[in-house]
């Protein structure tokens, strides 16, 4: 199986989860309140009160065959709003 790790702004979580569902992934998990740093600078939780939020970490375990549709759904969103994604291998436990 494949494991995809996405880090995006909390504002984009709903959009991304819709994309993941449409790509046909069997499931996903979301962890909010993630802070961090990347090309777009540092993200803290300080603006959380404003509804801007921090980052979220989304994990998707899926079959290799689903990688390509997921990529097609997700890359445009990462391109437009920022965020990064990584993939590695895993097995069902």
């Amino acid at each position: 199986m494949q494991r995809i790790d996405l880090f995006v702004s909390e504002r984009e979580v709903d959009r991304l989860c819709r994309a993941i569902r449409e790509a046909g992934a069997p499931g996903w998990s979301v962890m909010r309140h993630v802070t961090g740093s990347g090309e777009g600078g540092e993200i803290s939780e300080a603006m959380d009160f404003s509804g801007l939020g921090a980052n979220a970490h989304i994990v998707v375990f899926c079959e290799v065959t689903q990688l390509e549709p997921l990529r097609q759904q997700i890359h445009p969103i990462l391109g437009r709003f920022g965020g990064v994604g990584f993939v590695s291998t895993a097995e069902r436990f």
């Binding site: 504002r11 309140h33 939780e45 603006m47 959380d48 009160f49 404003s50 801007l52």
Partner: protein, 329 residues
């Protein structure tokens, strides 16, 4: 500017707690108000101020005075971002200029509340319906900002087309806008039809208000001070803008207040609405609708400099001008 007013403002609990937050950052204390507590305070303040405003609106009714004031407020929320945009374009690209301009066209509820508290302490009257002006100034600037960003966008094609549904949703259904307007309407209904409801809510919306404001300003102090450090990177143009824009916008507000014949308290609040910049509804909306803009620019100017400037210096300064140029009734 009367120095006694400045002092009185500086020594008010909300402003002092704001400074405490700033000091915590400067001294690198590990004081923090962990998320989602600031959100709790902000939800409470919006709900309480909306509800109280609604009750007073129900009391007064939507007379021509009220409608004129609200109309003027909406006009300013449309005009200010356009003006600011052209100034900002001198140095920024379209997306960033539009996003910053939208902030300054919109309002900061906490600055407004701090001004109200200041008036309360000085025993100066103001009308409760000014909250309606506050509520209705949040969204228009967002729409104007998005339109400007798209009109002047360098890129053509898809990214320049306006997604109206999304924009309107961000402008009018943003959580904080929705809660404020919703509470205003609820306050209006309860004020009109349920005396018992008014009475039972009073302890909640009244007794806690000032203390929660202090708590929230403590957090704003922490956040603003962190943002101020970002602002240095943003350069002197934006720093200058963040101080001059509120002054200029306040002057417009003063002029209109005089034209409309607003009483002193309302005039101060109107100036504060014009002078303040949004760091709640607007950033959240811009992040979605103008993602090309750099959030650290519009948040840092509005929250790192304009907000403290208004709260610490602006409010007493505007009041001095009000007392000079607006006749007492």
């Amino acid at each position: 500017m009367q120095s006694s007013l400045v002092l009185q403002n500086l020594l008010s609990p909300p402003v002092l707690f704001f400074f405490l937050g700033v000091l915590a950052v400067l001294f690198r204390s590990d004081l923090e108000i962990p998320s989602p507590l600031p959100k709790l305070f902000s939800l409470y303040l919006l709900m309480a101020i909306g509800f109280k405003g609604g009750i007073e609106l129900a009391d007064i009714g939507l007379g021509s005075k009220v409608l004129l004031t609200i109309g003027a407020a909406i006009f300013m929320a449309l005009a200010v971002p356009v003006l600011c945009f052209y100034v900002l374009r001198l140095k920024l690209d379209a997306a960033n200029a539009a996003a910053v301009a939208a902030s300054y066209g919109s309002i900061s509820a906490v600055t407004f509340i701090t001004a109200e508290s200041f008036l309360n302490v000085l025993h100066l009257d103001f009308d409760g319906f000014m909250v309606a002006a506050l509520a209705l100034m949040e969204s228009p600037a967002i729409v104007v900002g998005v339109i400007l960003a798209k009109l002047y966008s360098d890129k053509g094609g898809d990214s320049a087309t306006l997604r109206w549904r999304e924009i309107l949703r961000e402008a009018f259904l943003n959580g904080s806008v929705f809660l404020l307007i919703g509470s205003l309407v609820i306050g209006g209904l309860v004020g009109a039809f349920s005396a018992a409801g008014v009475e039972k809510m009073a302890p909640f919306t009244e007794k806690l208000f000032y203390g929660v404001l202090c708590f929230f300003l403590l957090d704003m102090g922490l956040v603003a001070a962190q943002r101020l450090q970002d602002l240095r990177k943003a350069g002197s143009f934006l720093i200058g803008f963040a101080v001059l824009a509120p002054l200029v916008n306040a002057m417009f507000g003063l002029g209109i207040s005089r034209l409309l014949g607003l009483p002193q308290g309302d005039a101060l609040l109107f100036m504060v609405l014009c002078a303040s910049a949004s760091y709640i509804a607007v950033p959240a909306a811009m992040r979605m609708t103008v993602p090309e803009a750099n959030p650290s620019l519009y948040i840092s100017t509005a929250l790192g400099l304009t907000f403290p400037f208004n709260v610490v210096v602006g409010i007493p300064l505007y009041l001095t001008l009000v007392q000079r140029f607006i006749p007492v009734r």
